[in-house]
Homo-oligomer: 159 residues x 2
């Protein structure tokens, strides 16, 4: 069982803001690797959290977590536009999740000043609150032999 | 700027619970791929969210997000035990993050009943609240050529 008392204490705080070219959910690409070329985006960290960026240089890729505050209410299953049958939200990357936490593996292209990271492959709306930055580790995050179930026939990668 | 009004509305809800062999932060491995062999763990989804698992079969790997409710307060920089200088939290995978959202890329080994996923490579405490399940997509999540900055010389992968 979940620890109920603790579960009630989940105070999320924005650590910064993401800036992208997309102003609405409708404008957003299906994923951050769909636009070709992928536009430069930025992640600006609030002053209180700049210290946490120490030693981030040298990582070519990062995992950004963000709060998709502009998406509609959760949808536990739905039929994707390119598909013929309903799929569960947990077998898709749709933003309409019970907890709308977005995740993108982004290419990190260095800093502008002390607070702003230049990144590519974001897919969210301009102004999206940033929740976390994690270094991408090929030792734990990279599974090139992985299979993609029902998405195998639909997924494409443009770089 | 972040949209302040929306930022205040970040209601996280547990969608289930993770079960692992580790009963305290001290017992947890450095990462889910450190134990050899990696023990079988489970993710049990609450009844309200079972519908969201539709079509999850066929994905060999999943990304689990969870709420690390038992970790100490955030620590913006610290000197790792295997290192000689302070590193920023965002260049580490330490759990003591401003938003303690854990992320593991896990191997998915099928269901037990309709609500429980069998997984390997978790690294968190038994009973940790589950926040999200995302399908791992090699088309967007896999970066085998990525570099790991200061962690390059420390990281190991045992499988």
């Amino acid at each position: 069982m979940a620890r109920a008392a603790d579960v009630e204490m989940m105070p999320l705080r924005p650590i910064g803001t993401l800036h992208t070219p997309w102003r609405s959910v409708a404008e957003c690409p299906r994923n951050g690797r769909q636009p070709d070329p992928a536009p430069l985006c930025t992640a600006t960290v609030l002053p209180d959290y700049i210290e946490g960026l120490r030693s981030i240089e040298g990582f070519s890729h990062l995992i950004l977590l963000y709060w998709m505050d502009q998406v509609k209410s959760p949808e536990l299953s739905f039929t994707p536009p390119f598909d013929a049958q309903p799929r569960g939200i947990f077998s898709t990357r749709s933003p309409r999740r019970p907890n709308p936490i977005g995740l993108s593996v982004v290419a990190f292209e260095g800093m502008t000043g002390t607070d702003t990271l230049k990144v590519r492959f974001l897919d969210c709306i301009d102004g999206t609150p940033l929740l976390d930055i994690k270094p991408y580790l090929k030792t734990t995050d990279c599974e090139p032999a992985s299979t993609m179930g029902w998405l195998e026939q639909h997924a494409t990668r443009r770089r």
